[in-house]
């Protein structure tokens, strides 16, 4: 089962991501900043990436999203600390870019998945498997073809 609006999650995630960036850059003293930033670091990048796998299991998806969020934040912070270039804003920007890129890919995947469906609806007769001959008219056509081929 999919969401009624398949693009809802990528859009919401992108707004959340930009909100986290906004909280740091524009309103650093806002009480919403810790909430937005910590929730984004924990869930945002991980969930955006995990959704691309289409696991289809909410609990597993959320668990992997939390784990991947922790892994990515550890990776960028470790890179900063070991390189001696402690640039938290840059690290946040990297995580935001990963999230937005993953959201874009998901949106493209949703769009691509919709196109074949639209294509099939334009066909007057949906294609049937060769073995499923159940309609009486089809059976008559089939027997006719058989008789023609046997006459030959």
């Amino acid at each position: 089962m999919s969401l009624p609006v398949p693009l809802l999650w990528p859009m919401a995630s992108s707004v959340w991501t930009l909100g986290a960036g906004f909280a740091v850059l524009v309103t650093p003293g806002s009480p919403l900043r810790p909430l937005l930033l910590l929730s984004f670091l924990l869930v945002g990048p991980g969930l955006a990436l995990v959704r691309l796998l289409r696991i289809g299991d909410f609990v597993m998806e959320l668990t992997l999203a939390l784990a991947l969020g922790i892994v990515l934040a550890t990776l960028v912070s470790g890179t900063m600390a070991y390189s001696g270039h402690w640039l938290p804003m840059l690290a946040l920007a990297v995580l935001m870019c990963i999230t937005l890129a993953a959201n874009s890919v998901e949106a493209l995947m949703v769009k691509a998945a919709r196109q074949p469906e639209q294509g099939t609806t334009t066909l007057s007769v949906p294609p049937e498997p060769a073995s499923s001959v159940s309609d009486p008219i089809d059976e008559q056509i089939a027997s006719l073809l058989e008789s023609v081929s046997s006459n030959r």
Binding site: M1, F58, M80, A81, H85
Partner: protein
């Protein structure tokens, strides 16, 4: 329990016409649909009432009245009634014909907050000395903006600390403000992977939810504080959940070691295969290469993060995965090699500074199982009568949970519900005991790593039989009594050291005075390690503890020679800069009394220090005193140089 998944069953996609894995909306709908029912509504009302009683009771707790029995000695009776009410309601909900998962989840979350959330709500500053040390390591990384592996072990496995530093820096939150709530946060974090692990073991919802309850009321180890092991335990659960979810397989006759190893598994197979019903009968679709690669990439990233963040957890994962591969329960046969390479690479390149000075001590106990266990058990069994009771309660609690699991495994086997895979995961952490004593904690860590799996078998003890028996009132009563007893045991064992683990703002003020005043290179000295220090300028001081000195063991705890200790303090503080600080706090006094030292010993020690010709009181308040050497013309000259 299913052992039938193959490596091809990597991912499950929704199949047209089959209700397989719902998306979020369907999941939410299932939650709502499963909720109605009288037991559910009554259960929710009980939870609301119990949480209210618990919240009101919090204000009546007097920490100053606590004795060596720990926090339970000052907990109001109504609070215990509230805990029992939630557990009883949980057990009654389990008895329902249709087990309502959302209602059980509400019970469990409420119980986690009630059990793990007491200290942050009644204590003014974060508890536990090591929490402050970890806050100090985080502060050092933010301040120096780098990781210096020469400082100590923490800077050789810094994953958790760089993450905390980054999160604190970017969100503007002081880690000390979040630290008290980490046990609640980590416990909630464990819910997801724990549920997946148990769900992969059985379709029986009663077993799943009871195992989760047992996990939380039996987790007395207390490693979920602001620490690398607390976070890495989550990743440990995630890694194992991914492996049993996507890389589990049925053993087939192999060759060599694997054939020998899987012989036992094949003998057990008749008892195992009957479990393969329900969930694992669902339609599974071969995953795309991209999906397979994605899952494997996440697993490798999780394992790499564990390796970079903690010393022991990677070995726990390595042993567990190796056991699964040897017994042909894991299709990713190269995973143990990969984990070993990750550990080796990190040790050889990133932690070489630590290994240079500690390799001999790290490897000296390898294989000495008896000695390692003795350090974890015998080395800890001393102290005041009340504290000894707590220590014996810990042993009894551990033995009781393992005993329940053992009986549960036998009952599960007799009812064809035994899982060889989960038995391997429950037993594999015992191999850690052969590595090293881990500071006398190896038995505790072994228990922690095996807890999710022994909780499963303990739950199977009650619900392995027929469905009708599982729903009987006798079973429900037995489950209620067992889990309530474990809950009381949890309060005794987990918070048994609370008298020395909690700190007052006055103690913190004294430590802050010393760390702000002392010059870089100074000695900061304390009688024992139970104080909130190392929180600032972590790398700039020499931290020393009198109880670690060679002369300490020669002092009689009943009639201690305080003058000898004063002389040792004077000598230690003079070196190297003559402006060191000696800190005496309430929590150290509590620790010494709990360990069997004469009551008021530290008060006498403090008087002797105050009357010393070479020391002066630099700072004092109700709960702490700070002593420093008196400055002389000679010392002033040395400081000026």
């Amino acid at each position: 329990v299913s052992e039938s998944a193959t490596s091809n069953d990597l991912l499950v996609r929704p199949v047209k016409g089959a209700s397989v894995r719902p998306g979020f909306l369907a999941w939410a709908w299932d939650l709502a649909a499963a909720t109605p029912g009288l037991p559910s509504i009554a259960g929710l009302l009980v939870v609301v009432a119990a949480v209210s009683v618990w919240a009101v009771s919090l204000s009546t707790i007097d920490l100053n009245a606590m004795n060596d029995f720990g926090l339970i000695s000052v907990l109001p009776h109504m609070m215990l009634v509230a805990f029992v009410a939630v557990i009883a309601s949980f057990c009654i909900c389990l008895q329902s014909r249709r087990v309502a998962a959302p209602v059980l989840l509400v019970h469990l979350v409420a119980l986690i907050v009630m059990l793990y959330g007491i200290p942050p709500l009644i204590e003014e500053v974060p508890r536990f000395a090591v929490t402050w040390r970890h806050i100090g390591v985080t502060e050092a990384i933010v301040r120096t903006q780098e990781v210096d592996p020469t400082i100590d072990a923490y800077f050789n496995w810094p994953g958790f600390f760089t993450l905390s530093a980054f999160a604190g820096d970017i969100s503007g939150v002081d880690p000390a403000a979040l630290a008290p709530w980490t046990p609640v946060f980590f416990s909630l974090l464990y819910l997801g992977p724990l549920f997946v692990l148990l769900r992969e073991a059985t379709d029986d919802r009663r077993v799943i939810w009871l195992a989760m309850l047992i996990f939380y009321v039996a987790n007395w180890i207390g490693q979920d504080y602001f620490s690398p092991q607390g976070l890495e335990y989550f990743l440990y659960l995630v890694a194992l959940a991914m492996i049993v979810r996507w890389f589990r397989k049925t053993p087939e006759p192999g060759a060599g070691v694997q054939r020998t190893a899987s012989r036992l598994a094949r003998r057990l197979r008749p008892a195992i295969e009957r479990e393969s019903e329900g969930r694992h009968g669902r339609t599974r679709v071969r995953p795309s290469p991209a999906q397979s690669a994605g899952v494997m990439a996440i697993l490798i990233a999780v394992l790499a993060t564990i390796v970079a963040s903690h010393q022991l957890t990677p070995f726990a994962v390595l042993i567990a995965v190796t056991a699964l591969v040897v017994f042909k329960r894991c299709s990713a046969t190269r995973l143990p090699l990969m984990i070993a390479v990750l550990i080796g690479t990190w040790s050889a390149f990133m932690a070489v500074a630590y290994f240079k000075g500690h390799l001999a001590s790290l490897t000296s106990n390898v294989g000495a199982v008896e000695q390692n266990v003795q350090t974890s058990v015998g080395g800890r069994l001393h102290g005041s009568p009340d504290h000894l009771l707590v220590l014996y309660a810990r042993l009894a609690m551990t033995a009781a949970v393992w005993g329940l699991a053992f009986l549960g495994a036998i009952r599960a086997y007799r009812h064809h519900r035994f899982s060889f895979t989960y038995a391997l995961l429950a037993c594999s952490p015992f191999a850690l005991m052969a590595l090293q004593p881990y500071g006398g904690e190896i038995l505790l860590r072994t228990y922690l790593f095996s807890l999710p799996f022994i909780a499963l078998f303990a739950a199977l003890l009650f619900y392995a039989g027929r469905a009708a028996a599982s729903r009987s009132w006798i079973t429900t009563a037995l489950v209620g009594v067992a889990t309530s007893t474990l809950m009381v045991g949890f309060l005794v064992t987990r918070y048994g050291n609370e008298r020395m683990d909690y700190f007052t703002p006055q103690e913190l003020s004294a430590v802050r005075y010393a760390t702000k005043t002392a010059r870089p290179g100074s000695v900061l000295l304390a009688t024992t390690s139970s104080l909130p220090w190392k929180l600032e300028r972590y790398e700039q001081f020499h931290y020393k503890v009198l109880s670690d000195s060679p002369g300490w063991s020669r002092i009689d705890p009943v009639r201690p020679d305080v003058n000898a200790l004063v002389r040792e303090v004077e000598v230690t503080l003079r070196h190297p800069a003559q402006d060191g600080y000696f800190l005496i706090t309430r929590s150290q006094e509590a620790q010494l009394e709990m360990e069997g030292w004469a009551p008021r010993f530290l008060a006498q020690f403090k008087l002797a220090l105050a009357s010393s010709r070479n020391l002066r009181v630099a700072y004092t308040n109700r709960d702490a005193s700070v002593f420093t050497p008196k400055t002389t013309p000679a010392s002033r000259r040395r400081l000026a140089q």
